[in-house]
Structures are given as C-alpha cells and as structure tokens.
Symmetry: C2
Subunit: 582 residues, 2 copies
Amino acid sequence: MRFLPLLDKFIVGFRDRHRIPRLVLLLGISGGGLVSYSEVKSDPSVTDSSIPRTQGKKRLVVLGTGWAATSFLKDLDSSLYDVQVVSPRNYFAFTPLLPSVTCGTVEARSIVEPIRKLIKRKNDEIHYWEAECIKIDAANKQVHCLSKHDKSMEGKEEFLLDYDFLVIAVGAQSNTFNTPGVLEHCHFLKEVEDAQRIRRSVLDCFEKANLPNLSEEERKVILHFVVVGGGPTGVEFAAELHDFVCEDLVRLYPAVQNLVKITLVQSGDHILNMFDERISTFAEQKFQRDGIDVKMGYRVVEVTDKSINMKRKDTNESSSNPYGMIVWSTGIGTRPVINDFMDQIGQHDRRALATNEWLNVRGCDNVFAIGDCATIEQRKIMEDIFNIFKVADKDNSGTLTVQEFQDVIGELCERYPQLELYMKKKHMRNVADLLLGNKESNQTESKALNIEEFKLALAEVDSQMKSLPATAQVAAQQGAYLAKCFNHMHDSETKPEGPRRITEPGRHRFHPFRYKHFGQFAPLGGEQAAAELPGDWVSIGQSSQWLWYSVYASKQVSWRTRVLVLFDWTKRFVFGRDSSQI
Amino acid sequence: MRFLPLLDKFIVGFRDRHRIPRLVLLLGISGGGLVSYSEVKSDPSVTDSSIPRTQGKKRLVVLGTGWAATSFLKDLDSSLYDVQVVSPRNYFAFTPLLPSVTCGTVEARSIVEPIRKLIKRKNDEIHYWEAECIKIDAANKQVHCLSKHDKSMEGKEEFLLDYDFLVIAVGAQSNTFNTPGVLEHCHFLKEVEDAQRIRRSVLDCFEKANLPNLSEEERKVILHFVVVGGGPTGVEFAAELHDFVCEDLVRLYPAVQNLVKITLVQSGDHILNMFDERISTFAEQKFQRDGIDVKMGYRVVEVTDKSINMKRKDTNESSSNPYGMIVWSTGIGTRPVINDFMDQIGQHDRRALATNEWLNVRGCDNVFAIGDCATIEQRKIMEDIFNIFKVADKDNSGTLTVQEFQDVIGELCERYPQLELYMKKKHMRNVADLLLGNKESNQTESKALNIEEFKLALAEVDSQMKSLPATAQVAAQQGAYLAKCFNHMHDSETKPEGPRRITEPGRHRFHPFRYKHFGQFAPLGGEQAAAELPGDWVSIGQSSQWLWYSVYASKQVSWRTRVLVLFDWTKRFVFGRDSSQI
C-alpha cells in the first residue's frame, strides 16, 4: 500500500528535495557533473572526488553484501540508478557451507566471492564502500557510515551518503536471549571469521588436552564440546565436528580419542523441529548411535568460564556442566542499527523491520528491507473485509453470490495468500465450499451472502498467516524480486501488473512478493543427509547427501567458488581434513 | 671434539644420572613402565599419564617444527629413542612460499603440514607437545615449556621435560636492529600468520583508499607500500605485491590504480647482494621498469604511525616518508630463550648458538643446535697447526715432505674445509703448490718444510672460513645430517667413520657436517625469476620461473601440500588472486 506514494514521487527530481539544515549545500559542479556537499564542522560528509554521479539518476543505496543484497545487485539493471553499496564485509559468503568451514571440510576462501568482482560484471556502474552503516536517517534520507579503518584517518572514517531509495539488507546477529556469559565465552556461527575461529578453537582443545601434566578428568573437560541450539546450523555443526573427530583427529590424537564428548542442547522437545517429524526422529537416532549426547528440553541459564549451567524445563532441575568449547546457535536477533531505525519510524520492540508484501518498510516510502533483518507483515483479510465485500459485490446488491466471489478469488488469493492456504488446509475444493461450508456447497450459485455471513465465512482465514523463515533461500528470492521491481519501476507506472487494489481504485504496480519453497537440507554427518522437498517429499541417507553436494555446488555464486568447493570436497575425500592451526 | 664425551656416556643408563635436588623423584612405576616425577610445590613437572616411556631408551627432546626439526624428525630412526617434540606451532610451514601467501598466489593452508601427520608415519613413537620452550636448563638436563593455552589451566600450562639429548631447532625471529617504532608499526614475514596479516593489510589499504571523503594525496599515502630489506624475502614480496596490484587489484579498484607506489629500501648498495651481480643488476632494472622505487644506501632510523624516517648513508640526508603499510624484512635475530641459554653456557653476546662441526653446542655435550638458531664455529687450522704438523710428520723427522702432507690432505680438508676453499681460490693444483708456492712446485718431493715454514704456508688459510647462510636449505641439510648421526650413534662407537683426530688419538665418530649448495632462486614477478645454480650458472627469465615452480613443487613435504600448491598456482592462472578479506 505504501508503494504508491513512493512511485508518485518517482518523477520528482532529487533537486526538489529538502536538504537537512545542518549541512551546507555547496553544489560545486566539477568535471563530469559531480555534486559535492561540504560539512558544517565535525560532521561527516561526502566529498566530490569519489562519487561520480549522473545527473537525473536516482541514488540507490544498498546496505549489506549478504544473500539478499547480492541477489538484488545481481539482478538489478544498474544502469537505471546511481548504485552505492555499503558493507563492512567486502565479500559475499555462501553461508550454508559455514558449518563445513568449522572443521575444514571446505576452506573459508572457497565460499566467498569479493563483492567487487560481482559488481564488476555491471561495468563499474556500482560503487562499493567498505564501511558499516551506523545510522539510518530516514527523515533526511541519509545513511551514516563508519569505516572500520579508524586508525589515522583523522575523522574521515565517518561519512554520509544521501539516497533516494534505500535497500536495507544488513542481516541479523546471533541472539543470546540475554543469557549471562554467552557473549564472553561462546562461539557464534554467523560469519566466516566465526567459522575460522571455531576451527582453531577445536584444534586448540585437542592440543591442550594432549599436554603432559593433566588428569584424565581434566582432559575430558577440555574435550567436551557443547552445541547450543538444535536448528539446522547447530545440528550440522555437531555432525561435522563428530566426523572431524572420528575420521581425522582420532588418528592424530590417539591418546585422547576416547575422551571426546559432544553435547547438543535444545530447548524444544526435538531437534530440527522445523523439519518433518521423520527427519527429526532420524537425526535424533543417528546422533544417539554416534554418541552425541542430545539434551532436549533444556534451557541454558548461564555460561561461566568453566561451565555451562542448564535447567531442565519440565522438572526445573539445574545442572552445571564443565566444557571445553561452546558454540551458540540458537537463532537470530536484531542489529543495533536496525533497532535504532525501528525506533525512529515507530516500529518499537519488534524482532525485525516490518515491510509490506512489496518489501517496502512500513512507514518509509522509499526504504526497502530484505533478508534476515526484515519480516513481511501480511495484510489481514479481516482488516479489509468490508472493502473486499464491496469490490466483489459488483452489482452493489448488498449481497454476494458465489459467482461474484469466484470472479475475484484469484486476485484475492494473490493479495491475501492466507486465503489459499486456508482453503487448502480445510480441504475446500472451491469458493462455494469456502462461502457456504462443505455441506451446503450443492446449493451453489443460488445462495447469496450478506456482509455478516461473509465475515463469518472468512473469520478464520487470517489464522493461516505465516512469517517466512530467516533463510538464505528467502533472502535470495526477496533480493531477486526487489531487483525486478526496481528494473520495471518506470514501465509499471503506466502498466501496473499487480492485483486489484482493495481499499483504493486501480491496481497494484507489482505482484506482491511470494516465497517459493524449494526444500531444505540437513546434513547429519557420515555422508548422510536429510532432505525435505516440496510436496512433502522426504529423503534421508547417502543419496540425499549427494543431492546436497550437487545442489550446493550448483548454487555457488561464481565458477571460481564452484571449482574451489568441488576441489575442497575432493581434497577431503583423498587427504582428509587438515588439522594445522591456521 | 665435544662429541666424544657425549658418546662415551651413551652406554651409561639414565638411572645413573643425578636428579636435581629440588625435584623429588617419585618414580612411580605404573602400567607399561611409566616414570613419574612429582613436583615440589609451584614447580611445574611432568606427570605419568601422558608420556609412556620405554625403559632404557634415551630421552631425546626436539625443540621446533621448522625446516631443521622436521628434516631431523623425518630421517630419525625414532625407534632408538624416546622422542618428544615441543613447539608452539603444530605444523611445518614451507617458508619459501610465504611471500606467495602474502598476496594469495598460494593459500596459507597449502604450504603447511600438521606435525602430527609427519610424526604419525613413525608409528606413534614420537610425542608432540604444543608449547613453547621458555627455558633450557642445561645443568639439570631439563627444558621448561609453556603451553599457549594459558586460560583455565590452573598452572598446568607450564611443564618440565627431562632429556638425555636435546636438539634445539627453534629458529630465529625478525631483527629490528632496535629501530624505534618497528615492532609497533611494521609487518614481519617470518610466520604463516604474518603472511595472512600482510594480505589482509594490503586489501585493507585498498578498501581504505577507496573510501569517499579522501583527497588524492591521502589516497596516495594509504597506497604507499614500503618494503624494508633488499634480501630474497623483501624482493620477492615486493615483486608479488606488484603483480597482485597490476594483475588483479587494478581491475577491482580502478579508481585508485594510478596512486599505488611500492618502495623498496635497502641499506646496501645493491638489492639481492648475496646473489651473483648479474642477478642483482637484472632485478634492479626490472624493478625500475615496473615502477618499484628502489632506494639503495638508505638506513631506516625511525618508524612512526604515519611515516618512515630514513637517512641516506652517503650524504646523511634525512627524509620522512608517509606510508600505508610497511613490511620489515631485514634479517634475523636471536630468540630470547636462546639468548638466555647462551648466557648460561658462557656464549655471551653472540648472534646465534655456536656449535662445532658436528652440530654439537660448544660447552654442552648432549645439546645440539640446527637451523637459524645456530651457527657452526669452524675450527681454525692455526689453532691446531702444531698437532697437524705432528700428525703429518709420520717419521717424526721434524720436517714435513710434500709426500707426507699429501697423505693427510684428504682428511685435513674434511676437518678444515677452509683449506680446500683456500686452495681453490688461489688456483693451487696440488699440495706442492700449497706448501712450496706456485713457482717452486717443480722441486716437488725433495723439499721438506720445518714447522715455521709450514705455519707460513698455511697462514692465510683461515681467512676462507665462512659461516652458512640462514636458509631453509642449510637447516634441512643439518637436520638430515644430525638424524643420520643419531641413527648410527651405536655403530659408530666401534666403527668410527669420521676423519682422523688431530689433537687426540683415534678417529672422529662421524664425518663433520658439510653443506652442499644446490643453488638459490629469486622470483622477481611477472613470471620472471633468477636462479643461481652451483658452478656459477646463472639463469634469468621465464624458464627460471618454471624451474622455480618445479623445484618448489617437488620439495613439498607431502603429496597433499604438493597437490594443493599446484592447484593454487593453476587457480591463480585461471581465476586470478582472491581479493576478499579473509
């Protein structure tokens, strides 16, 4: 809904925009039409030298170089905008392979691609700044950026970028749920550096446990690896670690091979509980066979430098477990810059930035958010129920026939996807089933509903609203979708392609974003993987592992990383994993 | 000379040795004949659990996992000793490829091999402790070790190892010549981590120079790379960096491609001055063509956070040069543990541990030193001149004939290699030339020399004594040589194979160590390398680069690293070097 004002403003040139008062506009046109802003003392600002701008093109600032941002940049027609990318990470990382990096199955460098290489394919139309966005100033349409190169830059490490459109794709950070000691003593598994640190730490534990003057008890503690979180990342890491220990390390550290223990702590009743039950059960059984101690229904209450303290949820029984290393992988939380931005735009205390179905941030016409930092707030059908009735009641009779509703059901399902889900869930074959109930559906077209009957029929539809998981797949699809919208923004003005508007006349300019689930994998170690594919198809075992290899190889962002990852896998098969502390 | 007492003691079992008074010997024999020593409070000690010992075998402790130690361990028959290896680095690194790692031509992991894998081939007869030797206690035959895992070890991070034989191969550290600011602001290039840091730092400079609000002057400073030291490492790094910039980075950072400057600072009058002059000249000319600023005859006096201050040696003119990054590669210095050990054994203020020609540390019968931490102190011929005369004068006539001297010249040349070098240098064809001078050599056997004439003839021989360069080649040969000595220690007692003793009766047990120079390479970038091979053969150009590739591939310590290095080179040819900051 908020897309319209944005599009209306599209034609208005940026010269008409108000400049913020504390910045003095110098507008020194030099060389190729460069625009420069100088600062009022101590305030960071952009100078002319580095951002050549084409007059008339809208400034599009993209924050992030993860899945969402990279997918967006890849599909964007960058000749239409002045594109600038800001991220503290000058590369894209293929995060689903991060657990493999923790144990050296795949090398860190094999899963990253420099963002400059990716944008290079766009003929230098995109600028990249290695900096972190520390503040989004929606009122002044600016982002404040801070380079990590803070030494000897004399204040120049901070700079401002003006935007006409902003795409926020900064991702999320690990969530500690404010558990004391987690930040200080646990490893996370979000970034490539995290994976490298974990790898070094695992080997450190083995070297440490091998030192001469320790008791067996002390060695056991050092070799107690705890994974908190039974989601795909935690489970995959536990599985990788188990393989690394059993296939490689026991040969090199024979003295301690029987002292290793891996514990997986899960607060829920099952691990991998976002997967099909068959997969959860298989994973639990496999881990049991492997000797991985899966503690389900436990909540971590504190982590100290020596032990991790847990509470059993059902009995409230406490336990203190000495450990050698902990990997914390319990879900994601909001980054500070997003929290601050949400406060500015009145989205207090949310888990993520709320956008509409067109990925437009609620309350900010020209700001879009994709990936883990955002969540789509689905429009409730009951909010619009009167308007829907009005739109469907073509003859303005005050009652709605099945036929009348049939005419708009397609567009309604696009606008309110929960409607389709609801009908599917209730096994309704057609509109008559929905409006009249399964039993009365033979009355068909003769029956007409008034508004109250209509409300009653649709009363429970909104219960089917689902938020999307925070996965690479969702982020990538959102990026690609948004790029398409940006590419067709001009055309869509005259030829809107979206569904009919319900509360206003006319049509939406674009189809709303719809997520297509292509399935998900859970590698379980020992060349076994579980795959959940669309259509309730579940596959478990070695064949799934090979499917996993082929899908992950094909999904690589460049031929370079594809070759490297394939080589790494081959290398692992031939030589095993490397155990040097690099 | 000092080898004899060591060998004499060899038969005496370790039970006869005096234990140091402040340690209480518990000698708790458990399980498979384990010996345990408990400590007198607060003193670190070895416990029984981790060091299974075979009664009667001598304890051999090896410090280090570099070229010398690895080569020693590789060739050692470890079934003859109880071998323990101590090093803070649990891998061997193929250091000649370090400059390639700085720019991503080769990956760090491709040039390292876990030491546990190397010793694994010995059927677990070798123990490895990941710790640093912090003190060598020669009087008590102990080494004090400190694990880097200092956290939560409750004092157990420090431990003692007893030895019967000690092989010191800890290498050296970078030498700053006490130049102020070097430690704080410069990169070194000794370890794999150094190379990785340099790589990140180079890319940091490029990202930093690309930030929006900088002047061209500021960008130039950030992209000013300074290499101090015109030896093989410094030159190769400068060449690699130049290639990295020209072949890869300019494509990704087109905005700053003309601002990059590389300066190579050399205190001597030529770079690569340990090489043939033709190579030095070629390198200087190539660097000039490449735009690398070679500053010869400059001494660095201070490094601050912003600039590197130099003095021109001939004019004493000072200059201050702002920089973005400095790599300091001017030679090696002594590690603190070696300094401390030298003080203990009366070798004060030396550059490295002095050993005799059998690599036995002077003043310590059962301690050996190999690699960069040691230097062989050649025996002077003038010290032994009377004994030599006596040995050669078979008929005790008081005069020496050419024939008499001819009979011992072979053994003398082995014992005093400077003799052979001297004769070669002076173009002497035979012993007569040496004893009688070139002109009188036709008098041949009739002439006999008295002791004074003999002294005069050999007076300048010792001027040809040369210390060996601190290279991987020397270290590896020393390791292999020493391993052979250890392997044959028992046999050699009855069948000594060395040259005749000069000051005592009998023969030396082993041939003294002799270094064989197989040549050296200097890669100069742009697929050009210089090679200096034995026999004054110099080769410069692309063919040498290919020779370099084949030699370095063949010299890899394992098939794994060989494959990885070859793959890295191929990868670089196909995809270029990676520029992501991992």
